[in-house]
């Protein structure tokens, strides 16, 4: 066993980027444009950077065009603040919104195929929650590349990183961060293809590993979004922020979880329960199907909980129906062809003649690894840890607060990626460190335990049970009782997997081994989400407590959670940055603790 566990000859680089999606590679591209020849290693858990989950984003990128005579950055800031349920950090909101159009031009100039109007300029479309004049009118603010904006971004940042000379390590995971004198100096990686561990010393380490949606049973997130960097950060004694803020989309397609967009409801789709009753009238008599996302999600979840859902036998998941049968051929062919296509592709259903199964689907983690507006990772409310950065969905700056607006996520990852690049360039001039002597020890004891265990436990079964339980108790709705049940169950599973034996014993490309490690990460992240949700006795944005249905001023602060021992969480509060409000400039009153009402 000992022979298996050694660090193969170390790698040295200037910058180690963990996660080669939109945020990580935008960061790499920026560094290489400004300082060609910088030695950057970009690590990806998937089989190639182009497979990153960024490429599945459909809708668009919000950015205010300076040539737009109606739209203004202050409106975008307001929408983001209001959408966040007054939890976004205003310094970050201002910085990202102000930088947005520059990033669009950067992407376009490097070859992204944005959809254009007849004059050859970038087309724009509207999205929920984006307004002009502080909610008075609809904003056309999202630039897009057909229904594959994320793919356009991914293809281009990958191309630019490749052009600049990034070294890629595919199918590689981060198992441990390394520190010296309180600074991050590198990391331990496990290269799945070779089955080797390697220590990498770097002047700066950037975390950009994406979300953790696999915590839930139905999710739009990819198979690899298991909260790995989140867990590694916790293990290093650093906090996670606002993890209880999870966004669920009301209508995911049962099974693959893929989104059946809002459009289905806006063109007249009707939600029905197992008795075919159009139930939305009970929950929102006026707005019905057009009520906001969270309200629709809760209505669907209530129907399911009260026994009026339908069980899909194949995927073993309960759902409700969306009825599109009464809509005209024109609507089906012109207004909703893509979404109709998804039902055909993944359910073998024709929405013109059949009811289609939908249910709330986990979509986005607003919380994550706390950073300041430069992407520097925080170790406590006022201090940062040198040499460690985070960007994209795994980070929490926080731009989205407790609820993210559509088209703000890929804007965030691309701008924060660049901001991190800017900061890294300044920082790396100053230092170089060797790795600590105990580099890899933690990883080796963890992986040796996985391979030495002898008990019969079914990891895939536990993972599935955990995801189901998290969906039921820590999903769209939460209660004190449900959360306590969840926490007890998580302890029990942690105990059960502790001794689970693996059947595949080698280190090389051992899917079972990686899934075992992922399960530990999922359990840790789930525990932080559940305990954070229990502590926050209010409802705000994506966090809905039935027993505390209103937002409460005493919770106008971010949650920081530290957990080095499983389940033993130390919490701290961090104030919300309200610098726009405090500057008392024009329209500052719009940035106070306003109501989130549409």
């Amino acid at each position: 066993m000992e022979k298996m566990f050694k660090l193969s000859s170390g790698i040295q680089c200037d910058v180690l980027i963990v996660g080669a999606g939109g945020a990580g590679l935008r960061c790499a591209a920026h560094i290489l444009e400004k300082r060609p020849g910088t030695k950057i290693i970009a690590v990806t858990k998937v089989s190639h950077p182009q497979k990153s989950h960024t490429s599945t984003a459909q809708g668009g990128l919000a950015a205010v065009d300076p040539n737009d005579i109606v739209d203004k950055p202050i409106y975008h800031m307001f929408d983001t603040w209001k959408g966040s349920d007054c939890m976004a950090d205003q310094s970050v909101v201002r910085k990202i919104v102000d930088a947005a159009w520059e990033e669009i031009v950067w992407l376009e100039n490097r070859g992204m195929h944005f959809t254009r109007d007849e004059e050859g300029r970038l087309s724009k479309r509207t999205f929920g929650g984006h307004t002009v004049r502080f909610g008075e009118g609809t904003a056309f603010r999202a630039v897009f590349e057909a229904d594959r904006t994320g793919k356009g971004i991914m293809d281009n940042v990958w191309g630019e990183a490749l052009k600049g000379g990034v070294t890629f390590l595919d199918q590689t995971i981060l198992t441990e961060l390394l520190f010296k004198n309180g600074c991050c100096v590198g990391a331990v990686l496990f290269m799945e293809k070779k089955g080797e561990f390697v220590g990498v010393s770097a002047k700066a380490v950037v975390l950009a590993t994406g979300g953790c949606g696999q915590v839930f049973r139905v999710t739009t997130n990819c198979r690899q979004n298991t909260g790995d960097a989140h867990a590694v950060v916790l293990q290093a004694g650093l906090p996670l922020m606002d993890m209880e803020a999870v966004q669920f989309h009301p209508t995911g397609i049962v099974g693959p979880g893929i989104l059946a967009s809002e459009t289905l409801r806006s063109v007249g789709g009707i939600l029905r329960n197992k008795d075919l009753e159009p139930f939305m009238a009970k929950y929102a008599p006026k707005m019905k199907e057009m009520a906001p996302r969270d309200l629709v999600a809760r209505a669907i979840e209530t129907e399911i909980r009260e026994g009026r859902g339908i069980l899909n036998p194949d995927h073993n998941i309960e759902h409700v129906w969306i009825d599109l049968r009464h809509l005209s051929d024109y609507v089906h062919e012109v207004q909703i062809p893509e979404v109709s296509g998804f039902f055909k592709q993944f359910m073998n259903l024709n929405p013109r003649t059949h009811l289609c199964p939908v249910r709330p689907s986990n979509h986005y983690q607003m919380g994550g690894i706390p950073t300041n507006s430069f992407g520097e990772v925080q170790k406590s409310p006022d201090t940062i840890i040198f040499g460690l950065y985070a960007a994209g969905e795994c980070g929490c700056a926080s731009f989205h607060g407790f609820n993210r607006l559509g088209t703000n996520s890929i804007l965030e990852l691309i701008t924060m990626g660049r901001f991190v690049g800017e900061r890294v360039l300044q920082y790396m001039e100053e230092r170089a460190e060797s790795l600590p002597a105990d580099a890899g020890d933690r990883t080796f004891s963890q992986f040796a335990e996985y391979l030495e265990n002898k008990n019969e436990e079914n990891i895939e079964q536990i993972r599935e049970e955990m995801r189901r339980m998290m969906t039921e108790n820590v999903g769209v709705f939460r209660t004190e009782e449900g959360l306590n049940t969840a926490i007890r169950a998580l302890y029990a599973w942690k105990e059960r997997v502790r001794s689970a034996a693996l059947r595949c014993r080698g280190l090389q490309m051992n899917q079972e081994l990686v899934q075992r490690w992922e399960l530990d990460n999922l359990l840790s992240v789930s525990m932080v989400i559940a305990q954070g949700a229990l502590r926050r006795r209010e409802s705000r944005g994506g966090h809905a407590r039935i027993d505390f249905p209103l937002r409460r001023d005493e919770f106008n602060c971010h949650t920081l959670a530290y957990m080095t021992d499983f389940g033993k969480i130390r919490f701290a509060d961090q104030r919300v940055d309200m610098s726009i409000y405090e500057a008392k400039g024009e329209n500052f009153e719009k940035f106070g603790m306003i109501e989130r009402k549409y």
């Binding site: 998937v46 089989s47 190639h48 182009q50 497979k51 989950h53 490429s55 599945t56 669009i104 031009v105 376009e108 100039n109 490097r110 070859g111 195929h113 944005f114 254009r116 109007d117 007849e118 004059e119 050859g120 300029r121 594959r148 793919k151 293809d155 281009n156 990958w158 191309g159 630019e160 490749l162 052009k163 595919d170 293809k193 089955g195 990819c222 198979r223 690899q224 099974g255 693959p256 893929i258 036998p313 194949d314 995927h315 592709q345 993944f346 359910m347 073998n348 079914n458 990891i459 895939e460 079964q461 599935e464 059947r503 595949c504 080698g506 090389q508 490309m509 051992n510 899917q511 079972e512």
Partner: protein, 236 residues
């Protein structure tokens, strides 16, 4: 309509430690609208946790889960059980890794090796053309873009390269060709000459025998052969 099917999966396995390769039979019951990725997950859970296979988004958008099913390269994430039974007329499926890269374990291949072909064509703007509107977007008419936009939908799943009768014999492969064509037709790129040098070299488009296999198997329904034809004709 049948509710569930008794399937036989004959899966090609490979163990990197012993370097042995064999076919293993799995018999499994699966609901009609489960996808092949769901069935593989079911095999992991109920029969054999050691079986390795690749996937990521499972929305047919990343191209990680390509495998060869009864001889046809396909994305496992969008193949529903009942569609597979109907299409192949059987409930027995032989599942093998794609052939344009070496297997790492079972159905997982070293995709980095397959991507070498795409890296060769330099999948980015090599020499940006002059932008008359400095600091702003290039103005490009939708009419110019629509001639090649379809080709930008390619997800590099390598189904075409696997099906191609020439890509195992020195041809750089259909997906690499269309990735380069996109930049040749993109008004923002000036490096047309450099690109054509490779595309008209002895590993370029004249290796293509116009079998049309690429268009036939493309999961994104891109008419790949049409774009290869454009390169052959110099029609860009």
């Amino acid at each position: 309509m049948k509710e569930s099917y008794s399937l036989v999966f004959n899966i090609k396995r490979y163990d990197p430690e012993t370097r042995k390769s064999w076919f293993q039979e799995y018999r499994i019951e699966a609901g009609r609208i489960l996808r092949f990725t769901d069935v593989l997950r079911k095999i992991n859970k109920e029969l054999d946790p050691t079986l390795s296979w690749n996937s990521s988004c499972e929305h047919a958008q990343c191209g990680s889960c390509s495998v060869v099913i009864n001889g046809r390269p396909m994305l496992a994430c969008e193949l529903l059980v009942e569609n597979a039974v109907e299409y192949f007329g059987t409930t027995t499926f032989r599942i093998e890794p794609i052939t344009v890269a070496p297997a790492l374990r079972d159905l997982v291949v070293d995709l980095e090796k397959a991507y070498d072909r795409v890296h060769r064509i330099r999948p980015f703007v090599i020499n940006p053309s002059r932008n008359p509107n400095q600091g702003q977007e290039y103005r490009i008419s939708p009419r110019v873009m629509e001639r090649y936009l379809e080709a930008t939908r390619c997800i590099n799943c390598f189904c075409c390269a696997t099906a191609c009768i020439s890509s195992h014999k020195g041809f750089i492969g259909p997906n690499a060709v269309i990735a380069s064509l996109v930049r040749i037709m993109d008004p923002r790129e000036d490096a047309t000459e450099e690109r054509l040098k490779l595309l008209y070299s002895n590993e370029g488009v004249y290796r293509c025998h116009t079998s049309m296999a690429c268009s036939n198997v493309c999961p994104k329904n891109i008419d790949v052969a049409h774009f290869i034809g454009m390169v052959k004709d110099g029609d860009f």
